[in-house]
């Protein structure tokens, strides 16, 4: 494993060092808010000590990033493939328009997690949030799977306006009750065995990363949120 001391270096220099490295495994020590780490990276495995800045793993295309702490805003922006694992919490707009790959967050996510998430052919993006998510979770979601586990949370583990503009994909909420303000184009129901089967491998993988066992997820049911139409706005217009 190659260790790069990051503390006194800018993001451009760090990304160049990551690209130039012969090692596949790279440890970034002392990261102090440098942005764009791993942008567009298609291979290699980054481990980050310290706090990465905004847009960590933007356009990520197959690489693996493990943050041993918290991440900030726009993690995995427009990510296409790969994996981002965050041991702590992350800021706003995580996984904006992600089309593939996985983002696992052990703690909480800020506003607009999974906004514009898409799915396409074999690409099925997945985001799992261990704690709670802020408002606008899955806004404009067009595909993919968002799971909020609400571990250690009392009450509903998402903020307001969950699924606003959603027109594809699924949100799984582990919660005793649904958010009170779900928009009209979202249909919610309690998960059936087949729904839980579909996410069992994801939860198993997530649990492996964070040392969670199946019994840790007991005690609360899962709800499934899906759009009730793929075309939520089609009656809005009149040709002129």
């Amino acid at each position: 494993m190659l260790t790069i001391q990051a503390s006194s270096r800018g993001y451009r220099e760090l990304n160049e060092a990551i690209t130039a490295a012969q090692d596949q495994d790279i440890l970034l020590e002392g990261v102090l808010g440098q942005r764009f780490l791993g942008a567009g990276l298609s291979e290699k495995s980054l481990t980050i000590h310290g706090i990465p800045g905004n847009a960590l793993g933007a356009y990520l295309d197959g690489a693996r990033i493990h943050v041993c702490g918290n991440a900030q805003d726009a993690t995995g922006d427009t990510m296409n493939d790969g994996q981002i694992i965050i041991d702590g919490s992350c800021g706003d707009a995580a996984g904006y328009a992600m089309r593939g790959g996985r983002i696992y967050i052990r703690g909480n996510a800020g506003y607009r997690a999974g906004i514009h998430m898409k799915a396409y052919q074999e690409k099925l993006p997945v985001m799992v949030i261990g704690g709670r998510a802020g408002s606008f979770l899955g806004e404009y979601q067009a595909g993919g799977i968002i799971i909020v586990l609400g571990l250690g949370e009392e009450g509903v583990p998402v903020g307001n306006f969950c699924g606003t503009g959603m027109h594809g994909g699924r949100i799984y909420l582990r919660t005793a009750s649904l958010p009170a303000d779900l928009p009209s184009q979202v249909a919610a129901r309690q998960a059936e065995p087949a729904d839980l089967e579909a996410i069992a491998p994801i939860l198993e993988d997530y649990g492996r990363h964070f040392g969670l066992a199946a019994q840790d997820l007991e005690g609360k049911p899962f709800y499934v949120l899906e759009p009730n139409t793929q075309n939520p706005y089609h009656q809005l217009y009149t040709p002129n």
């Binding site: 567009g40 726009a74 427009t78 904006y96 027109h167 793929q230 809005l236 009149t238």
Partner: protein, 501 residues
């Protein structure tokens, strides 16, 4: 209950002495206006379906057809026009937002037509472009304001990435989905032949067109359709779309019915799913946030490509442009309120935004005053109709122009403004295979090359007349312009004198 009948706007006039009932018009019309009546043994037409696109007129072998504006009328009223009344009928019947296509057609001032260009007489003689070199090449990107040297004192020539344009005209963003495969093929091939660029729009880049990457600007909009590493690296530049002249402050929405086959593949979303591009990028609320997107794109493409930021011309455009120039963007693109679109709410298209001429002049002035004009290239669009408009735009301060409506007209568009129906009889704004094939990319690209080549000659002629032999010397040269019939306020915003001064 009122009868919900809208009088046809046009009437199909068929000269019975010429019509041979060959039914060509019937085959050509996707709106199903014409059909053959076996009882009458004659062609008949349903005027109500006609959009006045001239396809049948153009292909009628005996020239039997013409489309005329109906003289059927409401009682005359300068306030409650027929248009105003009809729009109320449409909304009362449907409850829908009125949706239109192409640019603002209203009778707002066209400032290009109130600008006059100078020519040399006696002193500083004109240049004959047929005999003397005339430089229409220009470069888009940040210009260095310092000379950098290495340790040995050699000048470092490696500057910021630039786009080289052989002619200061590019084809502006139109997505695959809003226009057809053959329209995109025509634009891509023409851009390559002309040494300029076309723009993918926000619908991704079809795999067949990666070969034209060196002449392609790839767009990133709020929906991020089709955006991934290969796409970003395929183009010569990346454009962040913040706004569009036809619908400032409004997002895009391609209905699921149009997301089929290749469109779905290129946008990288499932068939039948709506493609929604909301008005804002939900990660951009400030110039600092914009800077973040600019630099995430630069990081992902290793600083090899200029990043454009496109905005609509709105009231505070000069201040916004100043912010964009400081965001790290290489080029600012401004789209005026006449800019076209495949679909926009009528009220937005016709009432929001400002003329590109005023926006351009105020942005260029502001950036100069702040000493940051060289930090960005400036590209303007939104109804550049001819070579004189190009010359005037450059003299007002643009580095280059974007054209789209003009390009579509070159491809056969007759400005019927019905793009949103998806039934374009000219094979441009449609995905129906039987209509798309009417636009032959060999012919289409040649017509685009012809148009831009003709404009290039005209630009050379006009520049030569002024005694100017390069685009660089024309750029921002407002002394070459005079206003006619403009108020002091307009002249002061445009930064020009009145004719005779």
């Amino acid at each position: 209950m009122p009868v919900n009948y809208l009088m046809p706007e046009y009437e199909v006039y068929r000269n019975p002495a010429r019509c041979i009932a060959c039914r060509a018009c019937e085959r050509q019309c996707a709106n199903e206006v014409h059909h053959y009546d076996a009882d009458l043994k004659a062609m008949v037409a349903d005027d109500a379906k006609c959009v006045n696109c001239h396809r049948c007129v153009s292909l009628c072998p005996t020239r039997a057809l013409k489309i005329v504006k109906s003289d059927h009328t409401f009682r005359e009223n300068a306030n409650w026009t027929g248009e105003a009344i009809t729009e109320i009928y449409k909304q009362a019947a449907t409850g829908g937002v009125l949706l239109s296509a192409m640019g603002n057609p209203k009778a707002f001032p066209i400032y290009w037509d109130k600008l006059l260009i100078n020519a040399s007489q006696v002193t500083n003689p004109p240049i004959d472009p047929l005999r003397e070199p005339m430089e229409t090449r220009t470069f888009l990107g940040k210009k260095s304001d310092t000379i950098r040297r290495d340790a040995q004192g050699n000048i470092l020539c490696q500057g910021e990435p630039q786009l080289e344009l052989k002619v200061p005209i590019m084809f502006s963003a139109m997505s695959y989905g809003s226009i057809s495969y053959n329209a995109h093929a025509s634009l891509a091939r023409a851009a390559q032949a002309l040494g300029t660029y076309y723009n993918t729009g926000e619908g991704g880049l079809h795999q067949d067109f990666y070969q034209y990457g060196a002449n392609t600007i790839v767009q990133v909009a709020s929906g991020r359709f089709g955006v991934f590493s290969d796409y970003l690296n395929a183009g010569a530049a990346i454009e962040i779309k913040m706004g569009q002249g036809a619908k400032p402050g409004i997002g895009g929405h391609l209905p699921g019915a149009k997301i089929v086959g290749d469109i779905s593949r290129t946008r990288m979303i499932p068939e039948g799913s709506d493609a929604i591009s909301p008005a804002p990028h939900h990660d951009i609320y400030s110039i600092e946030d914009l800077r973040q997107l600019v630099f995430s794109l630069k990081e992902a493409t290793h600083y090899q490509k200029p990043v454009f930021v496109k905005i609509a011309a709105v009231h505070n455009v000069a201040a916004i442009a100043s912010g964009i120039a400081r965001s790290g963007a290489d080029v600012i693109c401004i789209d005026g309120f006449r800019g076209g679109t495949g679909a926009a709410p009528t009220r937005i298209r016709d009432n929001v935004g400002i003329p590109i001429e005023l926006a351009l002049a105020s942005v260029d002035t502001r950036l100069r005053e702040e000493g940051i004009r060289d930090q960005v290239g400036l590209v303007v669009g939104g109804s550049i109709r001819n070579a004189a408009d190009v010359v005037k735009a450059i003299a007002l301060g643009a580095d280059a122009v974007y054209i789209a409506t003009s390009a579509l007209i070159a491809l056969g568009c007759h400005l019927c403004r019905s793009c949103q129906s998806g039934k374009c009889n000219w094979g441009i704004a449609t995905q129906r295979p039987e209509l798309v094939k009417r636009l032959n990319p060999d012919v289409g690209s040649q017509r685009l090359v012809n148009l831009v080549t003709a404009w290039k000659h005209e630009i050379e002629e006009i520049m030569g007349g002024m005694g100017i032999n390069s685009i660089e010397a024309l750029r921002g040269n407002r002394m070459m312009l005079r206003g006619i019939g403009l108020t002091d306020r307009e002249l002061s915003i445009l930064g020009i004198r009145h004719a005779g001064e």
